[in-house]
Symmetry: D2
Subunit: 383 residues, 4 copies
């Protein structure tokens, strides 16, 4: 249900590639209205169209052409009037700026990696673990905030893999082993990003930090949130009333001892990360191929149940042709907001293998962040 | 040691992409001299330059420009004067043609897949298992031949993976598990092969039959040859002298129970198949990273020991940069006759993972076949 | 104004790349409803989805999935109930099939080249010379037909160039000289079309017959239709009533002595033909840069005036950035139904030079044909 | 004839892409021996291999791996012991650095654009106008130097076009009109240069300053050097002895009133600039196609006559296939030191049109500079 009045929103890093995606998605959004644009001091004080090298094939929305660009500070440019601010900042500046906005009681939905590992910050793939929003009140109370918080979406390649993994766990219980090899698009590196001299007629079999991100983020996203009683032995002032304190913690899927190994490659593709995945189940009785197909087909997420505007009709699209999904042909399905799965078959080593595809610049980045904000609105975390 | 007189050789499928590579390699070869060219009936009776759409960046060798092209029959075009005939034929015609040449006592070194699974035919990656040439006498005796035989080289993607696997087994004993994801070049599909409409800005995550080839061929290549005593219970005529018969058989690495799973992708790269590999050893004490590096660095093959002309100086080149090997930058090393290995690191699931690269049109195809022939000359199988 | 009842339409060559585009455009069309699908005898009798390798990034429309495919004959498959049949046939079969449909009183809107030079057949770029529809009655009367006719759209590269040329002639009178160098997308060659082995990391500076098409078709399209009195000296039977006969003829722009030279290249781009054009005017007083910009900006076509469904809002989009238009970024403008123009500047040899871009698979092919049919409906040539 | 002792040479900008090409060419050169390497202050004091991201597919020459990199100053690193220093510097620093080397009596062979328009500096395409070396003594005398001078090679795209134009002028006299459209490789923009996000599946129809360079440099290169008598009216001190002074000047081909217009495009090709050219001759009687073919085939340059080491056997290679030359297939001919020409045919506007191809990183850059130095050695300008 859309809010009675559109919520004013801001975009940090508005001139960059992720920022441009945010603007494209938000320029005609039923919940949100673009109110504030932030970029580097170099661009501040000028109109958006004059400082932006627009890189999308759809034209720059008219609504932002003459909007003024401001520095990324919560006290300028109307950011303090925003109910939500989206961050498409580079990680080298995102950390402090996002915290300063949170301190100013502005909810931040960030695509940057800086706070993903923070034990107070939910790391949310909207088609998987929107239940983790429940940790927000604890983030706020520990920081003494009423409205401000930081919420991260996951790395683009993690996002593409974790959706089908969640579908398998939902149907067949915890996974035991996952092996992943990615073939990632150049847009994942931003702009100018990958030099054409490096990638034409070539593969670059290394993406800094990417394998670690997939292996680590997957555990946080597929994990739950547990209540932990703290005995607070060293904090006597809390013990005077004789009660232990209960705190929420991510369990990082460690109780299940999920083992993950990822290998990441950059390939000459514009958009769309493809992954080759092999999985092993914990349960003794292995599902059949047919059961796995059904687990993918029937998978639904809270985003779909809430029917938020950016939600895909189907979270997972199962392809029947043996050579699909393919990045160029399938990245546009569901406006880039779903994950495509195909080629499910038995694995000679683990139980099953399959391939999956995500649009890294949409569900893998800006679309996830916007969908997370829509869910947060629906569930009352943004007021 | 080069033969006292150059051996006349022929090429079947001479106008195709593999055939052109054969011609390039053989036009200035110290052991061999081009004598006969075979192609389809449509091209027969015309000069090579008039029927060939030459696709290599080096010009067509002058020596073949005016050579006459003949049908692929052992009784025409001087094929019966050849000591070796190389086959770059498509698999839809290779089977019968190659057999007819063998029946005519002409040794065939084939790049086609048709006879790779034949229990009498050695499947040889020259940097790995040239010892399997020892089965040739049995192939000849069972077929009543004196000189003719068929010898196959492996599939291009198999070749790239099996060399480093052999190096690991040589140093650390049998492998237990191997998982492979390939990123294969378009030239692996021949000409015209992959439509540009299919592969530009795209990945095709399926190559018909390729995963099965890798999984199966690896077992034959890494396996040994065992002596089997046949009790011949059902063949009484053989038992009359009371003796069992000893036969050679490939052991297909089955005694080691090696488990392999492969996933294959076509990527927009001209030449060079890259593979992401994870391995698990059988032995209890795992080698260290340093020991694995040394195993790759120090690996040598019989081709190197015999010092045949197409042999690389190093069978495996180990790369230190974390983003190497890359197809375009490293496929030319050792004239495309080696395998590049890099990014050796621990695997979160199996023991270690690494990447490897092979030039699919050279070591992965024609160069292997020519090197196999050179080894066969040196070891006396070709006279 | 849409027809009171949707007109049944057919598609010949429905399984090919142009055919797929026709089906995409026609599956939800306000004037037309898909009724009959024609393809080769090999596909006839089977459902569309079972015989078609769908190559567009948008999914195959549900409406055609289960439609039966028929042979391309006017007497089967309901083609005789169609008010319009679109032909995406290859030129090697298009000629006779299209004539047989015309003979059966079925109007054919063809993308094939076969009849483009026919002096009775209008060659129409809908944003330029829809006035040439006026020759249809003469085509019909000479062939003794009431409803049937053939109408061709132009070659894709011609289409992209002739729209801005028409705009210049509309404002400044006849051109004297035009020099064109094209950089054409691979989709212009159909599927499988250009081998990836030929075009990756490469340019193919030759497209068979293309330069001649541009040079010739431009004259027919930019020319007018003149009334010619035939004295019929050799046809006495027509002279008996003492009257000369008046006939319509294309003037092929020859009275203006327009000189054209084209050079055509294939480049590694999926969709979008870019052309570098230099022009010289006939009039003595040269227009200024500003006047030329206005001529492009203000150009309108009959398609726009009639406001037919496929018409772009702007026939020509003038780009201000000095590095635009670019194929990937600008081919989607106006749903691919316009021509983009940019980089207008003085030429050191002729008067001015500029670049222009057309979506070769939309305005350059199927969209033109459909727009031509819409105009024909509006002007009463299709009933 | 090689010098009796190898001449010590230095490379400025040694870590960049042009610098790497210089090093590749010079590491095994019969005239020259690498002695000094210059780069930015950031790299100074470290070994070449530690500061260089080597981008060529052939490995970094062993000889330079441990050489120390120095600042680009004539007084450090042994530059003052060099007989020749090659400059692969970026234009933003090349100007002053090159002048400081010249002032220190070190001959500079520069690939940078800074001094190309200097009326004292020869702009030399070694296959065309090595006769312009004759202006060096005047450069030296006016600057009071004995050994130092600056010599530039031309822009990469100019180089590719000017060789066939020179061949035409040599056979048929001055050209009247030249129209050029280029399709240029990404390597022309250096590293990282063109972002993959900009060029994949795309053409960028603009290269800053490139069209002007082609139009202007061609005039200087195809022009001659004339003796001009200065009457020195305003310089009385020179008139006292009653003599006029004679000075050499480039004539910039202006007496021939050559008109040139160029349009430049960046295409997704790694190496090799292709140009589509149309020409008009001044002479009344036009040559035939056959005569033009012969003019290209028979064209020789001074570099060939002197038989310097980098000289190609043939300056121009004429291709017979109608779809050649192509960048990927033909850029390696003559080790990238020649120009390929093809598709000669009549032009509907000017007299003839043809296409030509140059390897922009070899003859279009480093190879030209090295060949210029070889010629300078042979002709005695370097001692």
């Amino acid at each position: 249900m859309p809010p009675s009045e559109k919520i004013k929103v801001g975009v940090l890093g508005a001139t960059g590639t992720v920022g441009q995606r945010f603007i494209q998605l938000l320029s005609t959004h039923p919940y949100f209205v673009l109110h504030s644009l932030g970029a580097s001091a170099r661009s501040a004080g000028q109109t958006y169209s004059s400082v932006t090298r627009w890189k999308l094939s759809s034209p720059m929305p008219e609504i932002v052409r003459d909007m003024m660009v401001h520095e990324c500070r919560p006290d300028v440019g109307g950011f303090d009037e925003c109910g939500v601010v989206f961050s498409g900042l580079d990680h080298d500046v995102a950390g402090e700026i996002e915290e300063s906005f949170r301190s100013s009681e502005i909810p931040i939905f960030s695509n940057a990696k800086n706070h993903r590992r923070d034990p107070l910050v939910p790391l949310i793939v909207p088609l998987v673990n929107s239940s983790h929003l429940s940790i927000i009140p604890q983030q706020q109370s520990l920081l003494g905030l009423k409205k401000g918080f930081i919420l991260c979406n996951a790395n683009c390649s993690t996002t593409g893999v974790v959706v089908p993994l969640a579908a398998l766990e939902k149907s067949f219980g915890p996974l035991k082993t996952v092996m992943i090899t990615t073939l990632q698009a150049i847009s994942g590196a931003g702009y100018p990003g990958v030099s054409s001299m490096d990638i034409m007629d070539n593969v670059v079999p290394f993406i800094g930090g990417e394998e670690e991100k997939i292996e680590w983020e997957t555990l946080k996203i597929l994990g739950g949130i547990k209540q932990v009683e703290h005995q607070n032995q060293n904090q006597n002032q809390n013990l005077k009333n004789g009660k232990n304190e209960t705190k929420l913690e991510f369990d990082y899927h460690q109780e299940n001892k999920l083992k993950i190994s990822a290998q990441c490659n950059r390939v000459p593709v514009l958009d769309g990360h493809l992954s080759c995945v092999s999985v092993e189940f914990s349960q003794n009785v292995k599902p059949t191929l047919k059961e796995i197909e059904n687990a993918f087909k029937n998978y639904t997420s809270e985003a779909q149940e809430l029917n938020v505007p950016s939600s895909p009709k189907r979270s997972i699209i199962l392809h029947e042709n043996q050579d699909r999904p393919q990045p160029r042909l399938d990245r546009d399905l569901e406006n880039g907001a779903c994950v495509s799965v195909g080629r499910i078959r038995e694995c000679g080593v683990l139980d099953f293998k399959f391939i999956c595809l995500v649009d890294n610049v949409r569900l893998g980045a800006a679309t996830s962040s916007v969908m997370n904000a829509e869910i947060a609105v629906e569930k009352g975390y943004v007021r």
